[in-house]
């Protein structure tokens, strides 16, 4: 691919991560990045409503609870976890994109308290525009994370497509009694977030050529991190529920969990861990379209205290790719979680709020 085509007019050409000599910058191939390309929650709900839901006594967790993955009982002692996730580029280079896409897909299994076993790759490739080496690089990155997770790539499917996309369908197992559903949050639980927010903003800034290289590197490092340590700590600490934070942002996924559990959640905005410069990118107007869609969907469903600055609100709505887990823990078990996560850099232990009684909107409250 010729380098002079990239980056485009209007984008500064001198940022080193924008134009890798002789290579193509995958971020410039897409309008929506990573989980920011998710269909808006409102549209998803609209077209799903009215369709018949799968019902079977062996289907323990299905679409009804907006969960991260489905859980199906093969035998009483063997529960299958299944999920799929794929999206357009979220990083400039193929290996990083592959690592992030794999960590993101594996995360759905971890968010159920499960262990991934096998994965199938899904790839859409504009083969006239990107060299085949890109496809190989993406798969190599994904393979690296699968190996780290102890899961096997067992096959896949590729399509010729104008928009590059990649992801995995992951199959795993979960121990009976260890399922971390969205529907288990209980009043009194403390809400723990395990990765900092602001990935969507940082990717948008990178695409605009306005993010310093070390900031993009830090965001990529977090997005590439497996949620395995977080899931193991959650199971160890007797978590009631967990979900991973992706395209609907912290507040969107929290709302789904609160709704599925019939509870209300109160957040302390100043306790939420943030990527460096996320607030500045929000102030500069580098807010991805998905953040506005998330805000619209949650209108009337979340009440935000006026003391919370607009830029911080934007971060709370920011679509994450391969974000952390939001874990609901009995407060007495917070220390147990902290000890289990100690020494694991991929797992922060930020207590960002608590679960309360109340099954009416607005079921999310954000304070400062």
């Amino acid at each position: 691919m010729n380098a002079e085509r990239l980056p485009g007019r209007g984008a500064p050409a001198k940022e080193p991560h924008m134009a890798i000599e002789g290579q193509c910058d995958l971020l410039q191939l897409t309008e929506h990045c990573g989980c920011g390309a998710k269909l808006a929650a409102a549209d998803l709900r609209e077209f799903l409503s009215g369709l018949p839901a799968s019902r079977d006594p062996r289907l323990l967790v299905g679409p009804a609870t907006f969960d991260d993955a489905a859980v199906y009982r093969l035998r009483d002692d063997c529960l299958l976890v299944q999920t799929v996730d794929f999206f357009p580029p979220v990083a400039s280079d193929p290996e990083t994109f592959g690592r992030i896409a794999a960590a993101n897909a594996l995360s759905d299994v971890y968010a159920m308290g499960g262990r991934p076993l096998t994965a199938l790759a899904l790839m859409c490739l504009p083969s006239k525009q990107v060299p085949l080496g890109v496809a190989r690089g993406i798969l190599a990155g994904a393979q690296e994370k699968l190996t780290e997770a102890g899961a096997l790539l067992v096959g896949g499917h590729t399509l010729e497509d104008p928009q590059l996309k990649f992801g995995l369908s992951v199959t795993g197992i979960v121990e009976p009694g260890q399922i971390l559903s969205n529907a288990g949050a209980q009043s009194g639980d403390v809400l723990v977030l395990t990765k900092p927010l602001g990935a969507g903003l940082t990717i948008t800034a990178a695409k605009a050529g306005l993010a310093a290289e070390h900031l993009v590197g830090e965001a990529n490092r977090w997005m590439s991190a497996l949620n395995r340590a977080a899931a193991e700590a959650a199971v160890h600490a007797g978590a009631h529920a967990a979900t991973d934070i992706t395209g609907f942002g912290l507040l969107g996924h929290s709302w789904q969990m609160a709704k599925a559990s019939g509870v209300r959640m109160r957040f302390n905005a100043d306790q939420v861990p943030l990527l460096e410069s996320a607030l500045e990118f929000a102030s500069m107007g580098l807010v991805p379209a998905g953040a506005y869609a998330n805000r619209r969907f949650l209108d009337g469903r979340v009440r935000i205290c006026e003391k919370v600055p607009l830029a911080l609100q934007d971060v709370l709505f920011d679509p994450q790719t391969s974000g952390g887990l939001l874990v609901c823990l009995p407060p007495d078990n917070l220390e147990k979680f902290r000890q289990a996560a100690a020494g694991q850099w991929e797992c922060r232990c930020a207590a960002v709020g608590q679960v309360e009684e109340g099954d009416a909107e607005p079921r999310l409250l954000v304070e400062m």
Binding site: G8, A11, T30, K207, A208, M284, G285, V287, Y292
Partner: protein, 104 residues
């Protein structure tokens, strides 16, 4: 040019004019960012504002997301702004004050 930059125009409409207000020269510039997805309108507005010492930058956009983002940028660069609907979208008028009004 990025594949996602679905510019409807061959060239960016960048009308620029100078006028004198008393002894101080101010500049007015129009950026037509209609049909362009974020962050391109923000990048172009930022470049225009940085290139103007004092004056007015008008940004034309056709998406609510771009309105929100360009007005955030104006606030970040300590410029006053207002937005009005216009044919085919929105017109955001950004006033950049003179010295002392630089962005952080």
């Amino acid at each position: 040019m990025p594949l996602w930059d679905k510019s409807r125009r061959e060239t960016q409409s960048l009308a620029s004019s100078w006028k004198c207000e008393g002894a101080v020269v101010t500049q007015e510039m129009t950026i037509d960012a209609r049909g362009l997805a974020c962050p391109i309108p923000v990048i172009r507005a930022k470049k225009a504002l940085e290139g103007v010492a004092r004056g007015r930058v008008v940004v034309l956009v056709d998406e609510q997301v771009a309105v929100e983002n360009v007005t955030r940028l104006a606030g970040y660069m300590r410029c006053s702004h207002h937005c009005a609907a216009c044919e085919g979208g929105f017109r955001i008028i950004i006033e950049k004050p003179g010295s002392g009004g630089e962005g952080p």
